[in-house]
Subunit: 157 residues, 2 copies
DNA sequence: ATGTATGCAAACCATTTGCAATGAC
DNA sequence: GTCATTGCAAATGGTTTGCATACAT
């Protein structure tokens, strides 16, 4: 999936809306971080984002990156993933809506899959006493590479 | 959902199978930890598990708890959850199969829901180059309590 | 007897926090 | 001018690691 100029514009607009609505300040950092995230096609983590921003000669502190990402999550622009322990990863919400994830419990590799039936099933679903924002489906298992390695390891014993 | 004696017996049997198959040792710690986990109806984390074991006068080190849980995950007896950052939670796999999770992004509360259609959709599903072990569906949003609080906070401004 | 598993404590590292300086309003 | 936001550096705390000891095989 690709993001186009219109998508970016509407996300910026959404950010402005959110900041106005919540009485928060429209800082350069917040808009620049969103802009940077829009150039990332897949998942990203805090470190990757900071390196990209530094590479574009825009220095932002770690604390601000954490704050801003949380803000973007609250504004429904970004989605949080925790496939395996340790590192938290993120993804633009509009991208994450197009697929689900296969996660290898052995090597941590994450692969994306589309599933129209599930999207149909989930869309428009309501829950009692809960306003759903987004959902994540993680399918855990062993990827073919790891399965092969494990088989070899066992045979060598 | 309740766990009965038969379920526990079959889980112990599964552990024995796994340990034998992988040439791992059948230690008291491994069986005791599984037994303890079987008494927990909902989610648990490492700290909770250690306190329960200590309460039953069975001292186990943190390292062993981490090792054993990973082993139980690999043996397909336990499932790992990471609803929000920081703490990793776990659940008996046989319990987790009966429901999905609503997660409040504001207060972190987790609520369980059943969804037969989804179970039907997922069961027997195969993926190319990937052996699926289990899946987790997390639905993120705002719970009614937090929604109420947020509305009040906004009105007071 | 051998080598895996455990216990303990120190190390690790992503994330959070406190506070002074900056800048949006 | 006021107060939210940022930057920096230190603190936090769940998880991992290293090594000596214990114990399953």
């Amino acid at each position: 999936m690709n993001i186009n100029r219109n998508d970016i514009a509407s996300m910026q607009q959404r950010l402005t809306e959110y900041l106005t609505d919540q009485n928060l300040r429209k800082t350069t950092e917040r808009y620049t971080i969103l802009e940077c995230i829009c150039t990332i096609k897949g998942h990203f983590d805090v470190e990757m984002l900071q390196k990209m921003l530094d590479g574009a000669n825009f220095h932002v502190s770690r604390a601000t990156i954490y704050n801003t990402i949380e803000l973007l999550v609250n504004a429904s622009l970004v989605v949080r993933h925790q496939f395996s322990s340790q590192i938290v990863q993120y993804e633009l919400k509009c991208i994450s809506e197009t697929h689900h994830h296969l996660v290898c419990t052995h090597c941590g590799a994450v692969c994306e899959i589309k599933n129209k039936e599930l999207a149909t099933l989930m869309n428009g679903r309501r829950f009692p006493k809960f306003s759903a924002e987004y959902y994540s489906l993680y399918i855990y298992g062993i990827c073919s590479k790891c399965k092969f390695k494990l088989r070899q390891k066992k045979n060598n014993k």
